[in-house]
Symmetry: C2
Subunit: 475 residues, 2 copies
C-alpha cells in the first residue's frame, strides 16, 4: 500500500467528525432524551436512510425538494437520502397497517441529510431524535408532545426556554377571511411570516406587498396583497397575551367571524386546557401567532423551542400535527403529530450556554506495565478487572511508565494499576489514585515537591486484593 | 394534499424497516455490546455516512469499489456512502493527530451501505458496531479484540460459537516461499481461498490452477499455479490441531524455512499465549489457516466469528489488523486492529437459534378513559405516573374501554389505570392487572367465565394512592 498516492484526510463540506470530548456528553444527552420518550409511551421504529425519491419529493415543500441528496440504485430506481425522520414513518404507517395498530407512538434516532448552506451548528448530515404519535386527532396529544419538549430541556439543564405554539388552522382562517383561499398563496404568506425573526416586521410588510430588494441587491418577489390585508396579517401575527388563554381571547378579535375561525379558536382553547392539565408553566409554552415553521406537511398545531439566552441558534427542536401526510401513501388519512430534536444544534447551544454535561471518560483503570513485564500480565489484570465490571484499558503500546501515566492523565482515567517485575515476583500490585495526585500537584512549583506529590495516592497491595483496592478508590 | 397522486408505500430493494418487535430486543443487544466495548476501554468516535469518493476507493479492494453507492454534492465533489466504519476512522486518525493521541481505542455504531445482492440477513443498509485500537503493534491487542468477540457472543446468549483466527503474514510467507511475490497474485489466491466454505476443496484446486466452469456455465479464470504449489497451498489451509499452540506447531512443518515464516509463526505463538492469558477457551478461538477475509486492507491477524448451529448465516462479526490503512492518509503508518459486528445479521441468527431476548415493551401503564371523561383527566394521571418515573401512555384516540384494553393487550402493557366519571366524582381510580387477567383467561371457553375472569385483578383505590398501587402491581 506504500506505493499508492497519498489521499488528503478531509470531510466533505457540511459534514463533521465527532471525537470523544463531544460525543461522550452527546450520548449521555441522547440517552436521557430516549428515556423521556419511553416514559411517555413511545416505542422504537426505524426506517432506512435511503428512500424512493417519489416517497420524499413534495412532502416538505419546494425548499426541501431542493435540499435532497439524490442517488441511483443498481436497479436504476431514483432514490434520495431522507431529509427528516417523519416522512419515512408516514410511509411505514401506510405500509404495515396490520403490524402497527393505532393509536401508536414511535420514537426514532438517526442521521438525516440536507443539501443546505452549512454554518455554525448547521450540517448537511445531522442526527435527529424524533417522536410521532399516530391515530389520535386530539390536541391533547399535541400538548403531550409540547410537554416532552419542556421536559427534555429542563432535564438536560436548560433553565430558560420557551416552546412557541401556533396553529396552521388559525392562519388559514385569517387568510380565508381575507379572500386568499389558494393553497400556494397561503404557503407563500407562511414562508414570508417565517422570516420575521430574521428580517424584521418592515421587510415582512414589503414582502407581503410588492416585494423588496435585499442587502445583496437581489429582488425578493412579493405576495402582492393590498394594504388592508397586510394590516390584518400584521395585527394577527403580533397578537400576544399574559397567558395562553388570553392569547386565544385576543385572537378572537383579529380573526374573521367564520366557522373556520371558530373551529381553530376552539382547538387552541382545548390545547391551552391540556397544557394546563399537564402543569406546563405559562413561561415555558406560549401561543405565538407569528410562528410559521418551514415544512409544508403541517395541518394543525405547530411548535418550536427557542432559548432566549441563545437566540442566534434559532430553534433547537420543533414539530407539529400532520394529519394528511400518511394519506399520501394510503387510501385514508391517519392523524399524526410529532416533533424532532436536532442533537447537533442542541449540543452546540448547550456548549454556548456552558451547561454541557461533563465529558467523563468511561475508562476507570489503566493497567500499566513497566520494565519488560510481559503483555500477558497486563492482559490478565485487565481481564480480572473487567470480570468485576470495571472498565479497564491495558497499555499495550510501547512506552515507559511516565508515558503511560501521561496517557491516563490525558484521557482522565482516574486509577492506574502498575505491574513491574518486582511486583510480580512479590505477588503484589501498585495502585495509583491519579485524581489525588492531580489534586495535590496543583499549584506545586518546585521539582522536588512535584516528584513527591506524584507519589501520593500510590499504594501497594497483595495481587489478590486488586479488585477490592480498585473498587475502594473508585467509590 | 388530497388531490395529489397516491405514492405506493415501499422500501428500496435491500433496505428494511424495523418495527418494535424487532427493534426493542435489538436495542437491548446493542446496549449490551456497547457496554462491553466500554469495559475494554473504548471511547466513542463517529464519522459521517458520506465521504469523499477518493477516501473510500481502493481501500477494501475491487469488490468493495463496485459496492459503493455514489452521489454528488452541490460543490460537485465525488462522494459515496461509507461501506464500513473502519476507513472513516483511519481518515479521522490522520486528520486529528493532536486531538487523538495514541494509543487510542474507539468504538462506533452506525449505518453502512453496500450495493450488494440482497438476501436473508443481507441488506444494502446495515448497522455495524465497530471497535478499533490504534497505536499499538502488539498482537496482545488482537487477542483482546478476539476476547471481546467471545464476550459479546456469550453475553447475548449464544452457547456455541467459534472465532476463527488466521494471520495474513502466514499466507504471505507461504506464497513468497512458492515464488509468488506479486501482491495482486497473492490477493487473487486469498480470494480463491475465501470461497472454500462455499465451493469446496475440489473447486479451490481448480481455481488455483486452470480455472473452472461454474454451475451457471460461466467460466471462472484460474490463478494458473503449478500442481506442486497448489499442493503446498492445500497442505497449508488444511492444517489443524487440538490447540492453538498445536496449530502453530503444525504450521511450522508446511511453511518454507524463511525469516518471513519465522516472524509470522512467532506472531501466532505470541497471539496464542495472549489468548491463554485472557482465559479464552480453545473451543472459542481456533487458529484456522484457511480463513481469508474479504477486505484488502488487512496486514496481520484476521478473525471471524461463526456459529456452528447456524453455518448458513456465515460470519456474524469479523475483523483484523490493518497497519497500513492510516498511511494512505498520513505520512507515517499507524498500527491498528479492530472488528465490526453486523447487528442485522446477528439478530437474524439469534432469531434462528431462538435466543432473541424477549421484546418487552417499555410502556408500563395505559391510562384509559371511559364515558366522556375529559382528556385533561387522562393527561393529569399520565403526567403523575411519569413524574414517579413510570412509563405511561394515555389513550387519547377515540374508542370505548374494550378497545382501549385490547390496545393494552396488543402492546403487552401490564397495567391499566381506568378513569370514569364515577371514579372521578368519588375521588378514586380503578387499576387493572392485565397480566393477571390474561393468565386467568387462558383456557377459558364459555362467555360467562370469560367475563368474570376479565374482572380479576381489578381494584379501586383512592386517587391519592394511584402511584403506590401501580408500583405494587409492577413490582
Amino acid at each position: 500500500m506504500s506505493e499508492q498516492t497519498r489521499v488528503e484526510p478531509r470531510t466533505l463540506k457540511g459534514f463533521q467528525d465527532l471525537l470523544p470530548a463531544d460525543l461522550i456528553p452527546r450520548r449521555d444527552v441522547m440517552h436521557a432524551i430516549e428515556r423521556i420518550f419511553q416514559k411517555y409511551g413511545f416505542l422504537p421504529v426505524e426506517s432506512p436512510a435511503v428512500e424512493h425519491l417519489e416517497t420524499l419529493l413534495g412532502t416538505g415543500g419546494d425548499e426541501t425538494n431542493k435540499e435532497l441528496f439524490t442517488l441511483d440504485t443498481p436497479e436504476e430506481e431514483a432514490a434520495a437520502l431522507r431529509f427528516d425522520l417523519t416522512v419515512g414513518f408516514a410511509r411505514v404507517l401506510a405500509q404495515y397497517p396490520n403490524d402497527i395498530r393505532l393509536p401508536f407512538r414511535r420514537y426514532a434516532v438517526g442521521p438525516v441529510f440536507r443539501v443546505n448552506k452549512p454554518g455554525p451548528g448547521r450540517f448537511r448530515q445531522f442526527t435527529q431524535l424524533d417522536i410521532d404519535a399516530a391515530g389520535a386527532d386530539s390536541v391533547a396529544v399535541d400538548a403531550e408532545i409540547i410537554a416532552i419538549m419542556c421536559e427534555v430541556l429542563s432535564t438536560i439543564g436548560v433553565s430558560e426556554f420557551c416552546v412557541l405554539v401556533n396553529d396552521r388552522k388559525l392562519t388559514s382562517a385569517l387568510l380565508d377571511g381575507c379572500g386568499i383561499a389558494d393553497q400556494a398563496r397561503q404557503k407563500h404568506v407562511l414562508r414570508v411570516i417565517d422570516k420575521l425573526a430574521k428580517v424584521g416586521m418592515d421587510n415582512i410588510r414589503l414582502e407581503l406587498g410588492e416585494g423588496r430588494i435585499d442587502e445583496s441587491g437581489d429582488p425578493i418577489p412579493g405576495v402582492h396583497l393590498d394594504a388592508d390585508t397586510i394590516g390584518r396579517i400584521v395585527d394577527f401575527i403580533t397578537v400576544t397575551g399574559a397567558t395562553r388563554a388570553e392569547v386565544v381571547e385576543n385572537l378572537t378579535r383579529v380573526l374573521p367571524d367564520t366557522d373556520v375561525s371558530a373551529d381553530a379558536l376552539a382547538e387552541m382553547a382545548e390545547l391551552a386546557d391540556a397544557l394546563n392539565a399537564l402543569g406546563i408553566d405559562e413561561a415555558h409554552a406560549k401561543f405565538d401567532p407569528s410562528l410559521a415553521r418551514g415544512l409544508d406537511y403541517y395541518t394543525g398545531p405547530v411548535f418550536e423551542a427557542i432559548l432566549p439566552q441563545a437566540p442566534e441558534f434559532g430553534s433547537v427542536m420543533g414539530g407539529g400535527r400532520y394529519n394528511q401526510l400518511v394519506e399520501r401513501f394510503l387510501d385514508r388519512p391517519v392523524p399524526c403529530t410529532g416533533m424532532g430534536i436536532g442533537i447537533d444544534r442542541l449540543m452546540a447551544v448547550l456548549k454556548h450556554l456552558g451547561v454541557v454535561p461533563e465529558a467523563r471518560t468511561t475508562v476507570q483503570v489503566l493497567v500499566a506495565g513497566i520494565g519488560g513485564v510481559a503483555n500477558a500480565e497486563i492482559l490478565r489484570a485487565a481481564a480480572e478487572l473487567r470480570a468485576a465490571d470495571i472498565c479497564a484499558e491495558g497499555y499495550l503500546a510501547k512506552g515507559g511508565l511516565k508515558k503511560q501515566l501521561k496517557h491516563a492523565d490525558r484521557y482522565e482515567i482516574p486509577v492506574a494499576v502498575i505491574l513491574g517485575e518486582d511486583e510480580i515476583a512479590n505477588g503484589v500490585v501498585s495502585i495509583k489514585d491519579l485524581m489525588a495526585g492531580k489534586r495535590q500537584r496543583e499549584g506545586i512549583e518546585d521539582n522536588e515537591a512535584y516528584r513527591k506529590a506524584g507519589k501520593t495516592g500510590q499504594s501497594t497491595v497483595p495481587r489478590a486484593e486488586l479488585i477490592d483496592a480498585v473498587r475502594q478508590l473508585l467509590a
